[in-house]
């Protein structure tokens, strides 16, 4: 795939703190409520689970291309990047800060399975608070950008949050959706979906399909410089939250559903979208892939 020719260190393999520092202008990151403050989850000790000093999310201020931005980065390796009370409050607090500071953009580096089950009720309320805060920031005219390139991808309620943002950047190895393969198999049975079918999982939730659908805006190689450059280009490019804009998105989603609604598998969707020989898409490198899907790719209005 893209490994050997990558133009920089892997985004996927970097820690949450490293990712955010590398996306922002060098040396510009200032952390808010960092690990030395020891603001940890109050709910994990009772379950005999160790806490993390930052509750699995790094938030702070910085510059991107010289413009002031706010950024958050979830650590997917701590409890699957899942959102608990403190983790969610740090995200919501950062978005509230945006309303006062009016940065050029808010960057959300999402790497999460969704609600942290060990804090289930507090987790879902926290995700809801993040969702409302994202939309309030957008309504104030400040763009919010989701970056999805971690090993967990972006699932559950946070998969909805990603699509409440102005735009989504993904690597081809990343995944995004709402119900993940394991959850669907556990709930509906292996007849509905076989979570061990890695090729199917990849083509359903992976970056290529998400970009082809128009759910994500750009397909990036898995490198920190690629994410930085794409984020820099999108700062300041808001999708306005107006009746006209949402009616356009409504019509676009309705059209997509009419065109692709008969698809039981991503391969059917690619074929219905007009891709010749859809079976070859997973094997193509990004440039060849872009050429192959040029006429079929949907672009969110």
């Amino acid at each position: 795939m893209t490994g050997p020719r990558r133009a920089g260190p892997s985004y996927r393999e970097a820690s949450a703190r490293r990712r955010l520092a590398a996306i922002l202008d060098e040396g510009s990151f200032g952390e808010l409520l960092g690990p030395t403050e020891r603001v940890t989850s109050p709910h994990l000790a009772a379950l005999d689970l160790p806490v993390a000093f930052d509750d699995g999310v790094v938030v702070g201020t910085g510059l991107l291309g010289g413009q002031p931005v706010l950024g958050a980065s979830q650590e997917g390796r701590f409890l699957g990047g899942a959102v608990g009370e403190v983790h969610g409050a740090k995200l919501t607090g950062l978005l509230r800060r945006a309303l006062a500071e009016r940065p050029a953009a808010v960057l959300l580096l999402l790497d999460t399975g969704g609600v942290r089950l060990q804090e289930a009720n507090a987790g879902i309320v926290a995700v809801s608070e993040v969702m409302r805060a994202v939309l309030a920031v957008r309504a104030a005219g400040i763009p919010v950008l989701a970056l999805v390139g971690g090993a967990w991808g972006c699932f559950g309620g946070m998969g909805i949050v990603a699509r409440c943002c102005d735009g989504v950047l993904m690597s081809e190895e990343a995944r995004m959706g709402i119900s993940g393969p394991d959850v669907i198999e556990a709930t509906r049975g292996v007849e509905e979906l076989d979570a061990s079918d890695r090729a199917m999982v990849w083509r359903t939730w992976g970056g290529k399909h998400r970009v082809l659908l128009g759910e994500a805006d750009r397909l990036l190689e898995d490198s920190l410089p690629a994410f930085r450059e794409a984020a820099r280009q999108l700062v300041g490019r808001a999708r306005p939250l107006t009746l006209a804009a949402l009616e356009a998105e409504q019509a676009w989603l309705a059209r997509r559903l009419a065109d692709l609604g008969g698809s039981a598998d991503a391969l059917d969707a690619w074929r219905s979208a007009g891709v010749d020989e859809p079976e070859r898409l997973p094997l193509l490198e990004p440039p060849a892939w872009s050429a192959a899907v040029a006429g079929a790719r949907r672009v969110r209005p």
């Binding site: 690990p35 030395t36 000790a45 005999d48 689970l49 160790p50 993390a52 000093f53 390796r77 701590f78």
Partner: protein, 105 residues
């Protein structure tokens, strides 16, 4: 969960004072180490929260060995541990010290 506190006195010398660093991540078989300036100039305080109970002696041995090899007097180490092996603990402590001392004052 087990909470352990150690004070490491047999160490080669004082550590430089730098901005705090955190290294590693809390996950199964892994740990995070937070290094910052501590309360005692002549020794290193280490505070461990671990999901694996009953390994206090091993923690004491790994930390004593680490303190004997690095000038950590004046530092405070805080660890959140998801059941890492002694080898992983030693590795992370070393990384944390390197990163801490590599920072500009």
């Amino acid at each position: 969960m087990e909470h352990l506190v150690f004070e490491l006195e047999r160490t080669p010398g004082p550590a430089p004072r730098r901005a705090a660093v955190v290294v590693g991540v809390v996950a199964s078989g892994n740990l995070e180490v937070l290094v910052e300036a501590g309360p005692f100039p002549d020794r290193c305080r280490a505070e461990i929260q671990t999901s694996a109970t009953g390994f206090g002696d091993i923690w004491g041995a790994v930390l004593a060995d680490f303190a004997a090899r690095h000038p950590v007097a004046g530092l405070s180490l805080a660890v959140n541990d998801g059941g890492a092996t002694p080898a992983v603990v030693a590795l992370r402590l070393g990384q944390a010290f390197e990163e801490y001392t590599g920072r500009n004052p």
